[in-house]
Amino acid sequence: MSLFSKENGEVFMGPLNLNNPIAVQVLGICSALAVTSQLKPAIVMGLSVTVITAFSNVIISLIRKTIPNRIRIIVQLVVVAALVTVVSNILKAYVYDVSVQLSVYVGLIITNCILMGRLEAFAMQNGPWESFLDGIGNGLGYAIVLVAVGFVREILGFGTLLDFQIIPDSAFVENGGLYMNNGMMTMPAMALILVACFIWVHRSINKNIEQ
């Protein structure tokens, strides 16, 4: 099978749309609520999950034939936990402010259902390259939703995007304008509502998704 065959393309593209981990499988919602009040942590979290899913998929796929069946979940957890610790250390060293913002949620990637789901359902049965594509696809599928939610929450909640002021200062009530930031958007509950809206739109477009 060639590296970029049709099957591999589907492995990669599926989770971006028709098999999106958040919109269709409704996995990994917990962290989607917590880190999306602004765009930057949402992007970093999305990338971290993508990197960790891809590499843990590859590692598990490489050693899948040696893993003793009775402790396979433990082995998967150890691999994920090790990768998460490495990523968390790298974030602390190079993007300290973001790691403070993400706080416990980087550590909680270990328990992210998307990861365990992909390891158990895909990497245990497939080769490293397919597993890598599957990991990147699922990570990006998760990241897209996070970024979309973070985008809406930051622009409506703070009037900024990646800390740049988007809504002009003169439009605000305190400066004589008519606009106010929506404080509701900064609350975790709004992430849930936005994810629900996202799923609604996604399902209206793709009517053939199995419920």
Binding site: S37, K65, T66, I67, P68, N69, R70, I71, I74, V75, V78, V79, A82, T85, V86, N89, I90, K92, A93, Y94, Y96, D97, V100, S103, G183, T186, M187, P188
Partner: protein, 209 residues
């Protein structure tokens, strides 16, 4: 070669042991390689927090480092009190530590040369409720403390009270309004300020001389 029985007990135990040793080694290496960079980040973060208590905010990392070295005249990052010189005026910075609703609170309170009034404050928290208790980290709350008085009859009177709930004997110079919906965190800030300012009373009084 005979096929390895990956389900035998011996294999499972050896597999688990080797895996744990490999992973432990890897994590130890990563952690010790990145430790110096991380420590530098933590120290720099603390410096920007101390500068914020002197009303010097929104600096880039490089600016903060330079400004800190310029302004702070005495004391280390972890000392209970530091001295600073802002535009020719001496300020005393008292480190405050306390407990919020969910976890530790900390911050710095800078005091004017008169030993009576607050110059600026900075508070931070580990895990207070986002949008409620976490708002003690925001500038509008910290700015409320500016120019408030500390002592009444030789005791620390400065406090944080729910709107309209301050004791009637206390003039408005001595308290700030609590964060709405975050009574327990606000009480934590109140207790932390009173405890730490009382503990450092001698240093604050020494300012007047």
């Amino acid at each position: 070669m005979a096929k390895l029985n990956t389900n035998s007990n011996i294999y499972t135990i050896i597999y688990a042991s080797v895996m744990v040793i490999l992973v432990a080694g890897l994590l130890a290496v990563v952690s010790s390689v990145l430790k110096p960079t991380q420590d530098a980040n933590v120290a720099l973060d603390q410096k920007t927090q101390i500068l914020a208590s002197l009303n010097i905010r929104d600096l880039s990392n490089a600016e903060a480092e330079a400004k800190y070295n310029e302004v702070i005249t005495e004391g280390e990052l972890n000392s209970p009190t530091l001295k600073a010189n802002v535009d020719g005026e001496e300020k005393l910075i008292v480190a405050v530590k306390g407990a919020g609703l969910w976890g530790p609170l900390w911050g710095w309170v800078s005091i004017n040369k008169d030993g009576e009034t607050i110059y600026g404050t900075f508070f931070n928290h580990e895990s207070e409720t986002a949008g409620l208790g976490a708002r003690i980290k925001e500038q509008w709350f910290q700015d409320e403390f500016k120019n408030k008085k500390i002592y009444q009859d030789g005791k620390v009177a400065l406090g944080v009270y729910k709107q309209g709930k301050a004791p009637s004997t206390l003039s408005a110079d001595y308290y700030v309004d609590a964060v709405t919906g975050a009574t327990l965190t606000s009480n934590g800030v109140n207790d932390m300020i009173q405890k730490c300012l009382t503990e450092n009373q001698s240093a604050i009084e020494a300012l007047k001389n």
